[in-house]
Amino acid sequence: MEHHQERSDHRSQDLPQVLVIKPPPVLTLFEDKFISSKFQLLKAWESTLPLDQFLTKYAGSVRAVLCSGASPITADIIRLLPSLQLVTTSGAGVNHIDLSECRRLGIAVTNAAGVFSDDGADAAVGLLIDVLRKVSAADRYVRNGLWPTKGDYPLGSKLGGKRVGVVGLGGFGLAVAKRLEAFGCTVLYNSRTQKPSVPYPFYSTVFELAADSDALIICCGLTAETRHMINREVLLALGRQGVIVNIGRGAIINEKEMVECLVRGEIGGAGLDVFENEPNVPEELFGLDNVVLSPHRVVFTPESFVAASELAVGNLEAFFSNKPLLSPVIYE
């Protein structure tokens, strides 16, 4: 027994170390790709030591960390990792990583945004159609046995010809726009900077975009600038018939103000995959038929998870063999 353990320890000592503070979904679901002979995982969550002690004791020479939204990489944590050179996050979002600290110290960051674009866009369009055409509400109506007794379901609203404002025209936003065009929607957008190569009209503020749109789709990341960017003023500009769909981060929308607008009928409806304080969802929304709720899963499919895990492994392998990273986050 001991001899066997010694041998496996000796073998794994040759492998590059990757610190994992809490297992990202991609590790929990597809551990094979990581338990392979490629890396020695330092699993902080399996230790009885508090995190800072674990890091001080074991992670002094660790050069790479694999994380996700569940394990933020803060300045404090970075300070305890003097040899850190790479942060690989398994998802698309990077708001849980102190990017300015990483940039200051020359620590590279990789994510998996491209891998989720299709699924995210599919989800956004699915939620938009669901709200406009009352799919989930009408499905509930049928399952509750109301069709024979209460008759036809109230009419929905046509998607074709609607002006849809895309907030954030990165990978997700472009994938959403491409799909909406096929439904005969007019696509408009707001982004940090105008993109001259796209055919869609640019609006320099979210307020102006909302005022000229029938629906808003939030496809951007959460930063200091975008936090609570969608507030009461923007929602009122969107209007009583307006619909908002959020596949970005809950905190991009001032949730309290949005709930008030929905309850008061000041906007037409919402399709939400993300919330400010997940998994808590404001209960006022549960009684509304013009709202579709999703538990931060609607962008996830096994196919994209496999691709994300392959990308994370690919980035780590590239790093350890001094090759160019596959999907580095570019600081703008």
Partner: protein
């Protein structure tokens, strides 16, 4: 025209009722306690029937109305109208094509997304408070799935165009191959089903297309396959579909229509891989208004001896 009798077969749209009442002498068939007595009394004043997907003009009704000149359907489907009888008697028939194409195609894609990505089921998950106890499961990717379309008319083409934006390879079955179309053609529905992930019914209901999705087709589609029906309930052998879904021999279904509307097989209510809608394919404010205007337009044209807007017969 106020003296012209128009018989509305069933309730379908209050705007349409209102507009018909302004122009004609409107009879609401569903409010009549004794139908045969009513027909006997009023048969000589009824010159038009307005029907829809639930009720139209069958042989019996046509025979009971000797002065019937036109049947205007508030639908594109004509399965509730005895077309042969109308042709025989020189009765004109109109429907509402084109104006509802987008809505039905949008809904077909909406159903595909709702079934594959489990939108309705995860909405239920959140509302029931289960998210606080644990994450929802993963759902299946839609982009890139092979979409097979039964019937490549206006609605079928519109579904194809939208699915292409999701990088879905498109194939179809039709009575005859369309050489100018770039999508892959299959000469039978079974072959189409064997070669696609999502099978969409988008054809008209006729004697030939009754139960066009049967046990054989369902078996070919298989445990990962999905049926989307935005045609008519009788396009699908409903008992076969239900048992395939319950027994997990079929992956899922998005259904807007059923064989005996508004009755829906209750075995489906407990399944998480189906989405059930109460025949809302064209049910938007915008489209129903356009359909109603087309019905009125056709009737006015007929009674003013002008060319019909959207004649079928």
């Amino acid at each position: 025209m106020e003296s012209i009798g128009v018989l509305m077969a069933c309730p379908m749209n209050s705007y349409l009722e209102h507009e018909l009442e302004k122009r004609f002498n409107l009879f609401r068939f569903w409010t009549v306690p004794e139908k045969s007595a009513f027909l006997a009394t009023n048969k000589n004043s009824i010159r038009a029937v307005v029907g829809n997907s639930s009720a139209g003009a069958d042989a019996e009704l046509i025979e009971a109305l000797p002065k019937l000149e036109i049947v205007a359907s508030f639908s594109v489907g004509l399965d509730k109208i005895d077309l042969a009888k109308c042709k025989e008697k020189g009765i004109r028939v109109t429907n509402t094509p084109d104006v509802l194409t987008d809505d039905v195609a949008d809904l077909a894609i909406g159903l595909m997304l709702a079934v594959l990505r489990k939108l309705c089921e995860s909405d239920r998950y959140v509302r029931s408070g289960k998210w606080k106890k644990g994450d929802y499961k993963l759902t299946t990717k839609f982009t890139g799935k092979r979409v097979g379309i039964i019937g490549l008319g206006r609605i079928g083409m519109a579904v194809a165009k939208r699915a292409e934006a999701f990088s879905c390879p498109i194939s179809y079955y039709s009575r005859t191959e369309k050489p100018e179309i770039k999508y892959k053609y299959y000469p039978s529905v079974v072959e189409l089903a064997a070669n696609c992930d999502i099978l969409v019914v988008a054809c008209l209901l006729t004697e030939e297309t009754l139960h066009i999705v049967n046990r054989e087709v369902i078996d070919a589609l298989g445990p990962k396959g999905v049926v989307i029906n935005v045609g008519r309930g009788p396009h699908v052998d409903e008992p076969e579909l239900v048992s395939a879904l319950v027994e997990r021999r079929l992956g899922g279904a998005g259904l807007d229509v059923f064989e005996h509307e508004p009755e829906v097989p209750e075995e489906l209510f407990g399944l998480d891989n189906v989405v059930l809608l109460p025949h809302v394919g064209s049910a938007t404010v915008e489209t129903r208004q356009a359909m109603a205007d087309l019905v009125i337009g056709n009737l006015e044209a007929h009674f003013l001896n002008k060319p019909l807007l959207t004649p079928v017969v």
